[in-house]
Every structure is written in structure tokens, then in C-alpha cells.
């Protein structure tokens, strides 16, 4: 086999074309692949992820938050570790390594014709933003859309600039909820579960999507079921440590499954069959 054909871990270069300060400690990076062919190969579906690297520093996993239709891709990064710390020093024009896309995304084909409830917690929002952009582009293929987005404090809210465009669409309800009441916020308060409870849905024709901290996912899936949504129609994106992205390094194991390869999106029915605690 000629050497050039082999690439398991080699990233391709992408240029930072825009940096958006979303919130304290959260930035969105808009990236353009240096070679257009690389974008074609990085043909992702909402919920899939990529591995983004800075040579000499490290590699980190992010789900794309932009629409798969766009030539450029976007990732939202919370500064919590070595690699993300270094990413925060990047300027427009800097290069970052990209490999992927990996994993299975949200089953957007399967839920065609259904109403969709999207519940996001904190920095679990990005993959669901990609989902939402996808649903809005194919608006006629889907029913009603509810988005419930929960954050700890008002400062943590991201994508404020996208809200007005999303709200213009018919039958799209966006609820942003802040955990505790405060002077700077006159919108909804409480946990995301408080707002799922209030939804009036037709459970037989509704799919529930969620991404967020493990504990939140546990309670969200319970609330979805209380509304009558079947476990097969509840799809959750899990977080795990990921290094290789191709089901070899073992870090993302849950029982006999690999989150990077078999997920990161699993139906609640699949999660119930897992042989290890999921949450």
C-alpha cells in the first residue's frame, strides 16, 4: 500500500476565519478547510464529532454546531483544559488540525414527519444547534419543533444572536431557562425538566433529542417518558473521554459499546441494554 493512502491520526489543516465570544469561557470558532477536498471528506451529519488538534499541545473532541450544508464548520469550545486553553489564544488566520467526522449522529431520517423536542444543557447545546439548523432547512419534512435550552446563569447563554432567526420559523418554540431567578433575567427560570413537563405534545408522533451533563440526561429521559415518548424515540448524545475516534483506544467504553463508534448518539432503548451504568 502506498504510504500516502494511510492516515489514521493525521489531521488536515483548517483556518480560523472567525471567532465569536459567546460567553465567559466559551468561544465559537468558524473554520475553513485549507483544501476544499478536505471539506468534502469531512461530510458530517448533526451529532457527529471531530477531533481538533493543536500540534504539540493536544487534541480535543467537539461536535460541530453549524449546519452540515455550510462550507465552513463551527465548533463551540468551553475553556476547561490544556488544549482548549491553547485554542483560546488562537487568532483569526491561525491553523488548527481536524480529523473526522466520527460516530453516529442524530437519526434525522428516521424521525422524518415527527414533531421534535430538543433539550440542551449548557455546552451540550452545539450538536443540537446543528440538528436545529438541519430541521429548519428541511422545515416541511418535520412537524413542530420545541427547543428547551437550560443554563446555570444568565452569563452562560450562548448563540443569543441566532435566536431571532430561529424564532421567525413557523411552529418553532424556543425556551431559554436560567436555573435561578436573578435581576438580569426576566425570561424563564428553573431546570429544563420543569419546562419539558409543561409541553403539550402528541407522544406517538414525537422524538426527543437531548445533550448535556450526564445527570441532566438521566432526568430528561425520565421526563420524556412521562410525556409518553417511547424509548426508541428518545435520542441522547453522550459525553465520554475520546482519543482515537475509531473504537480502538478504549477510553469511551460503556460495557461492550464504544461511544465514539456506536454513538455518541444512542436511543434510550439502546442505553437500557447497556451493560454498565450510563449516567
Amino acid at each position: 500500500m502506498p504510504k500516502s493512502d494511510r492516515h489514521t491520526y493525521k489531521p488536515v489543516p483548517a483556518e480560523v476565519v472567525r471567532i465569536i465570544d459567546e460567553a465567559p469561557g466559551i468561544k465559537t470558532f468558524r473554520l475553513r478547510f485549507e483544501r476544499p477536498g478536505d471539506r468534502k471528506r469531512f461530510d458530517f451529519l448533526p451529532g457527529q464529532f471531530g477531533l481538533f488538534s493543536l500540534m504539540g499541545i493536544g487534541e480535543a473532541t467537539f461536535s460541530m454546531c453549524s449546519s452540515p450544508r455550510e462550507e465552513e464548520i463551527e465548533i463551540s469550545v468551553r475553556n476547561v483544559g490544556n488544549t482548549t486553553d491553547a485554542m483560546f489564544t488562537m487568532k483569526k488566520g491561525d491553523l488548527i488540525g481536524v480529523r473526522g467526522p466520527y460516530g453516529k449522529g442524530f437519526p434525522l431520517d428516521v424521525v422524518k414527519g415527527k414533531d421534535v423536542v430538543i433539550v440542551a444543557g449548557g455546552i451540550g447545546f452545539p450538536p443540537l444547534v446543528s440538528v436545529l439548523e438541519y430541521l429548519l432547512f428541511r422545515r416541511k419534512d418535520y412537524g413542530k419543533i420545541w427547543v428547551i435550552y437550560g443554563v446555570k446563569t444568565v452569563d452562560d447563554i450562548v448563540y443569543r444572536y441566532k435566536g431571532p432567526r430561529w424564532r421567525k420559523h413557523k411552529d418553532v418554540t424556543i425556551t431559554t431557562t436560567v436555573e435561578k431567578k436573578c435581576r438580569e433575567w426576566n425570561g424563564c427560570t428553573g431546570m429544563v425538566t420543569d419546562h419539558i413537563r409543561k409541553l403539550k405534545i402528541n407522544p406517538a408522533n414525537t422524538a426527543g433529542f437531548s445533550c448535556g451533563p450526564p445527570v441532566m440526561l438521566k432526568f430528561v429521559s425520565e421526563e420524556f417518558q412521562k410525556l409518553g415518548i417511547e424509548p426508541e424515540n428518545i435520542h441522547l448524545s453522550l459525553e465520554r473521554m475520546m482519543q482515537c475516534g475509531i473504537g480502538k483506544c478504549g477510553h469511551c467504553n460503556i460495557g461492550d459499546k464504544y461511544v465514539c463508534r456506536d454513538g455518541p448518539v444512542f436511543s434510550l432503548a439502546e442505553l437500557r441494554r447497556m451493560q454498565e451504568d450510563v449516567w
Partner: protein
């Protein structure tokens, strides 16, 4: 293999065979180190000493996944992936370890994604196996049906009297014999395979189903109380393949550097830690369970084969005296009839 695949070599000629092989490629063979043997690359004409060799302390997986191997190299903005396509041979690898390697093949080159660094090394590895005539005190390969080979080798040696019967399992194996033709004579077949005679046993009949019933058993909590989370079991397991990717800049010039593979171990707390310091397997019980279930349950489901080959190394190295055969027996006793 056909009738013409059998040979015999006298013990006095073995060194000559290894010397000839060492001239053609890197040969890894058991070398006496400390209190046992380790696979090491032989130096030219290095004297082979298999006296008292039952198996190595550390499994041969390091030949295929060497600690700290460079996977990606970068210089300024040039990034290239590096592969080891050098021909190598492993000599006197035991059947259990060959089974382990065949299993690693399924993990690293199966499931629709090929780890090409492993593949490069594996394709270029000549496997010269050696049957066991004696079992070590912690061996239980007979229970795992890994005490004999039906393939997966280029040459298979079986000690017999003053020499070795040799079976060629591939054309490449035959060629190696042809290259040292005067040291071998043709033979009509292999001697009947004797059992190594393991004293330890695991009853594997229906074990995965029984273990599934024990998923929340207090057995694992009790074992976790003894476990020191030292990761020795995973370190010496021939089928443990978990690893991490480490970026390592050249300290004299930060624009250059490598991405390396470091073996990693699920027994360690940090193994499942994600950004923000959340640890998914926080409790030792979960980590202990992961080891036993990966070895005896998950492997069967993912690769159709047990991930335990019965080499007994994890028993030998465990400082707390945790024994996978005893754990399996405990589970069977408590849950077989539940």
C-alpha cells in the same frame, strides 16, 4: 498444511537457525531478565537461552504496540503520519499469546476501521510459535481453549527429545526453513499434542450469562476492597489494548514534535476522566468490574472470542492476590442457579 510442511531440527542447531534469521530481520525472543523472561530484540549472534522458559512476564503485545511509538510527526507546518513497515519475527511465542494477537487483530483491524499503525507492524510480523510442554502455576489456557493452535503462525515448534518438530503454517514460514535448509530435516508429521497440564481452571460454560446476572453483585465490591488500582493486571494482559495519544513537542524546538501512543489502563481513575474533571468510573468497583467483564463477557459479544486467553499473568502480577479464576468461580457459585 500439506505433508511437506513438517520438519525436525535438533536442539544444537537452534542457535544457528536463530543467528541466520537475525541477519535477515529483527528477531524478538524470550530473554532472561530479572526473575523471568521478556521478549527482547536479539542482538547479532546473541545466545538463546530457553532453559526454564514457560512464558514471558510481559506479553508480546509491545512488539505490535510499542510503548511511546510515534504515530504522527510534525515539523513547522508539515505533518506526516509514520508507519513501521520493518520486517520482524517473534520467536517462541506461546499459543495463548498467539490467540491474544489474533484477538488484537480483530479489535485493531476489524469493525470497519483499521488502525493502520498496528496493521503495518502486524503484516510484517513473522510468528514463530512454540507449544508448551509444561504449564506455569497460574496458567489456565486449557479452560480457554488457547493451549493449541490451528493457525495464526508461520512456524510452530514443538519440543520433542533432543530437538523440535516444526510445522510450517504459511509459505513465508516454509521459505524461512528453506533459507536454513541444512539445519532441518523433513518429517512425516507432528507428535501428538500433549496437554500442558494446567492446575487452574475456569468453567466457561454459560459464563457470560451468569456474569450478566451478577452485574450488581456485592462480589465486585468485595474484590474492589482488595484491589489497589495499580493496573498491573491490564499492564500484563496480552489482550489489553487501551491507549492514549500524547502530543510531545521537541523541547529544543517547539515547532517540531510527535504524537505518540502510550498504553493506558482502565484500572486507573483518570482513564475515564473528561474535561471538567468528571470521572465516569469514579468507584473502584466499576473499574474492577470493567476488567472482568471485558475479559469474559464483552469480548465474546464484540469479537466473538473471549478476551481472556488464560495466560495467568494478571494472577501472577496482582499484589492483592486477586485471581480471575477464583472470581469466575465465585460468580458461578452464587449466580448459576439464580
Amino acid at each position: 498444511m500439506t505433508q511437506d510442511s513438517y520438519y525436525f531440527i535438533e536442539k544444537k542447531d537452534l542457535q544457528g537457525f536463530i543467528d541466520a534469521l537475525t541477519l535477515k530481520m529483527s528477531v524478538f525472543a524470550p530473554v532472561r531478565k530479572g526473575r523471568g523472561f521478556r521478549f527482547e530484540k536479539l542482538k547479532n549472534k546473541q545466545k538463546l537461552d530457553l532453559n526454564g522458559y514457560i512464558n514471558t512476564e510481559f506479553p508480546p503485545k509491545s512488539i505490535l504496540m510499542p510503548e511511546g511509538e510515534a504515530l504522527v510527526r510534525y515539523k513547522e507546518s508539515m505533518i506526516c503520519e509514520v508507519f513501521d513497515d520493518v520486517k520482524k519475527a517473534v520467536f517462541a511465542i506461546r499459543p495463548c499469546d498467539v490467540h491474544a494477537m489474533l484477538l488484537l487483530d480483530k479489535v485493531m483491524m476489524g469493525h470497519g476501521d483499521i488502525e493502520e499503525h498496528y496493521e503495518a507492524r502486524r503484516k510484517n510480523l513473522i510468528v514463530i510459535a512454540m507449544n508448551c510442554t509444561e504449564a506455569g502455576e497460574n496458567c489456565f489456557c486449557e479452560s480457554m481453549e488457547t493451549d493449541r493452535l490451528y493457525g495464526g503462525f508461520d512456524l510452530l515448534f514443538t519440543e520433542n527429545g533432543n530437538g523440535y518438530h516444526v510445522e510450517a503454517g504459511s509459505e513465508e514460514g516454509k521459505k524461512i526453513i528453506d533459507d536454513s535448509a541444512k539445519l532441518f530435516r523433513k518429517s512425516s508429521g507432528m507428535p501428538a499434542k500433549t496437554k500442558p497440564g494446567c492446575t487452574k481452571k475456569i468453567d466457561t460454560a454459560g459464563l457470560p450469562e451468569i456474569m450478566k446476572k451478577a452485574a450488581n453483585s456485592s462480589i465486585w465490591e468485595d474484590t474492589a476492597k482488595r484491589c489497589l488500582s495499580c493496573a498491573s493486571c491490564t499492564f500484563v494482559c496480552p489482550t489489553c489494548y487501551c491507549f492514549s495519544l500524547k502530543h510531545e513537542p521537541d523541547v529544543t524546538d517547539l515547532k517540531n514534535g510527535e504524537v505518540k501512543r502510550e498504553m493506558d489502563y482502565c484500572m486507573l481513575l483518570r482513564f475515564s476522566k473528561v474535561a471538567g474533571d468528571y470521572v465516569f468510573r469514579q468507584h473502584r468497583t466499576e473499574r474492577v468490574k470493567q476488567f472482568f467483564y471485558h475479559k469474559l463477557v464483552y469480548g465474546l459479544e464484540n469479537e466473538g472470542k473471549n478476551h481472556c486467553v488464560g495466560c495467568g499473568r494478571c494472577i501472577t502480577e496482582c499484589m492483592a492476590g486477586i485471581d480471575i479464576t477464583e472470581e469466575a468461580a465465585k460468580v458461578r457459585k452464587k449466580y448459576a442457579k439464580v
